[in-house]
């Protein structure tokens, strides 16, 4: 009597689940930080909503430049890219785990704060320092979720607010201001600080208009800015560009100061919409190349090597800083590299002068970038930023 094999169906489950295990085991034997190369793991966005941010070109060029100049004490820099793929914290954590499995010397972080927070806890055990490219204060070493293995190359929320309010008060001499922001967390934090700073400088905040990051019609926010002699605009690129377009469409011509969220949004606006607008950014070689020979050299090299590609000074400078950190730590990774990075003072890079402070943030002088007519020119530098609180 043929006995039907009861477990036959379950063999299928076992086989497919083993497939999962095998797919993973392939990662066990990843290359360690071998001696002759300095391995950097870069968490970037090749697919999903933030895809094609041009980060890969900037990182590759930085490594090529350093290796061309003889590398770090003879050791070549090798960058491996890990696609995060989306905006969820799980994707950030998975990409970080994949990078750490290859035992890199250093990591260059994602630009979404929630994703950075999702894997900060892994760094102390892996003893791998991270150059963080997101704006939230939570990832700073002193913070509850932070740890001493993170360094920030990007602007920080409170410093950005201080810079913007100083531009409004000192440069634009505005008396009546309207602040608009999308309700994502970073913009909300910057808005709170800007409002506090402006009040401290006796600048009247007429109205605060907020909109959701995925709003598709911003007439309400645009109309709220009517009557202000200057407008602060914070938030995601898409709604930011849309709001300015609807302000101009409704005949509102007052000057506007953006935070870096506008970077991608600016491309959506016609040159005429951009009259009387400026943006504050921590690292903007495109604008500082007029005054800064280092930025000029980088911009010329980059635009010739990758014509039309998106310039991202933060990623380029991050690789340079890791190389400098390695020089300070005499080629030692782990805790030594961390101390090497923390010891960087007055490093002359494409973002101007970078030096690590107590919170291990590198950039302290933010640049005011005028955007009139769609061309970027330097409208001044706000220095000595300590963060309002």
């Amino acid at each position: 009597m043929r006995v039907r094999n009861p477990g036959a169906r379950h063999v299928v489950a076992l086989v497919s689940l083993c497939g999962l295990a095998a797919a993973g085991c392939g990662h066990l034997g990843g290359g360690g930080g071998s001696d002759d190369t300095i391995d950097i793991g870069a968490l970037v966005y090749q697919t999903g909503p933030l895809a094609q941010k041009g980060a890969t070109n900037n990182l590759t060029m930085a490594a090529d430049d350093i290796n061309a100049a003889g590398g770090v004490d003879g050791r070549k820099i090798k960058i491996k890219f890990y696609d995060i793929g989306g905006l969820t914290p799980q994707q950030g954590r998975t990409a970080a785990q994949r990078a750490l499995a290859d035992k890199p010397d250093a990591l260059i972080g994602p630009s979404v704060s929630a994703q950075t927070n999702a894997f900060l806890g892994l760094l102390p055990k892996a003893e791998v320092p991270l150059i963080n490219v997101s704006a939230q204060r939570e990832s700073d070493p002193g913070q509850p979720q932070g740890n001493p293995w993170t360094f920030r190359i990007y602007h920080r929320v409170d410093r950005m607010a201080e810079a913007i309010s100083r531009v409004m008060a000192e440069q634009l001499k505005a008396k009546n201001v309207v602040v608009t922001h999308s309700t994502d967390d970073t913009s909300t934090h910057v808005k709170d600080d800007v409002v506090k700073d402006l009040k401290a400088k006796q600048v009247k905040v007429m109205k605060i208009a907020s909109y959701t990051p995925e709003a598709t019609d911003l007439t309400n926010a645009a109309l709220a800015t009517r009557g202000a002699d200057a407008v602060v605009a914070l938030g995601y690129p898409q709604p930011l560009g849309l709001m300015v377009k609807q302000m101009r469409a409704n005949g509102i011509k007052s000057p506007i100061v953006f935070d870096p969220g506008a970077e991608a949004g600016v491309k959506l606006l016609s040159p005429s919409d951009l009259t009387n607008t400026s943006m504050v950014a921590a690292c903007r070689p495109q604008a500082t190349q007029g005054q800064d020979p280092v930025a000029k050299k980088f911009m010329d090299a980059y635009t010739s090597k990758y014509p039309g590609s998106y310039v991202n000074g933060y990623y380029y400078e991050a690789v340079q800083l890791i190389a400098q950190g390695m020089r300070n730590s005499k080629g030692e990774g782990g805790a030594k590299l961390r101390e090497g990075l923390a010891a960087i003072k007055g490093f002359k890079g494409i973002c101007g002068e970078s030096s690590a402070d107590a919170d291990q943030n590198f950039i302290h002088d933010y640049k005011v970038v005028k955007l009139d007519g769609g061309k970027e020119t330097l409208g001044g530098i706000v220095s000595g930023l300590t963060g309002a609180y």
Partner: protein, 289 residues
């Protein structure tokens, strides 16, 4: 009160575009009884195709060509997905349209990248003074063009032979086929028409916002609120509820709170569904409980 008129007009113009998309969904539902979740992404596709064409030809020609391309795209979707799934339950067909939506979004991301892009307007720029307040020219054109299109469709469905056949198909598919209505040919036509409507929506909405491959889904969510209220079978009911929802959303955002902008259409829809579980218009498959 200087904000009321601009908000009202903004509501009318977005409501008009959503009415176009909603009528596309109603058309597909009339012809095949299925719900098309990919209608919003067809609008996005229309906007990107129009953007690509504007580079090579004058705006009005680009608009015309985009409508033709989307007409064929709508027909192709009917052939590839709806015909093989004809006898599957309605939910499976609705789920298949999700597959189409995902494929369009991903295809656009590969083709155009995920950064938002701006689209040149084929119908005028800047603002014009109406009743003393500056209003975007584009939204005035949007309202006008949508009104003309709906009048045209009303005439098509009431007075022409094709229109009568489509309505017969919607009323009772088997009987209509028995009477010699060319069901498969008509299906292709109605899907094509819904594609063309989405293209028009894309061309009108595109220039007033920034387009990105991922925007289709938030549009279809809004439109579903309108379709649920207006009923799945009445073009007029759906168009009216789309405009009402558009205006309600703008006014509520302006005068109540802007944190819940995207939630207002759903709140209105849920409130209504709890009161009348089969929507306002003539109940279709009234489930008797």
């Amino acid at each position: 009160m200087d904000r009321f008129i601009p908000l009202l007009f903004a509501g009318f113009s977005t409501g008009a575009v959503y009415a176009l998309v909603a009528s596309g969904i109603v058309l597909v539902h009339k012809a095949s009884g299925a719900v098309n979740f990919a209608q919003g992404d067809l609008l996005t596709l229309g906007a990107f195709v129009y953007l690509a064409f504007t580079g090579a030809m004058p705006p009005m020609a680009a608009v015309g060509l985009t409508i033709v391309v989307l007409f064929l795209a709508g027909g192709a979707i009917e052939r590839i997905v709806f015909v093989p799934l004809r006898d599957q339950p309605r939910l499976t067909v609705a789920v298949a349209t999700f597959g189409i939506a995902l494929a369009i979004q991903a295809g656009l991301t590969v083709w155009q990248g995920s950064d938002p892009q701006s689209v040149p307007s084929a119908f005028g720029h800047g603002s014009v003074d109406v009743f003393g307040t500056p209003l975007p020219v584009l939204s005035l054109w949007t309202i006008l063009i949508t009104a003309i299109v709906f009048a045209g469709m009303y005439a098509l469905f009431q007075f022409t032979q094709i229109g009568r056949m489509v309505r017969a198909l919607a009323a009772d598919r088997e009987v209509a086929v028995l009477y010699g209505v060319p069901a498969s040919g008509l299906n292709f036509l109605t899907f094509g028409l819904s594609g063309a409507l989405a293209a028009l929506g894309g061309v009108l909405l595109g220039p007033s916002i920034a387009i990105s491959p991922m925007m289709g889904f938030s549009i279809v969510l809004f439109v579903f609120a309108a379709v649920t209220i207006g009923g799945f079978d009445s073009m007029g009911g759906v168009a009216a509820s789309a405009v009402v929802l558009g205006v309600a959303q703008q006014l509520l955002t302006g005068y109540v709170s802007s944190a819940y902008t995207n939630a207002y259409p759903f709140l209105v829809m849920l409130a209504l569904l709890l009161v009348r579980p089969t929507g306002l218009a003539r109940p279709i498959a009234a489930e008797r409980f």
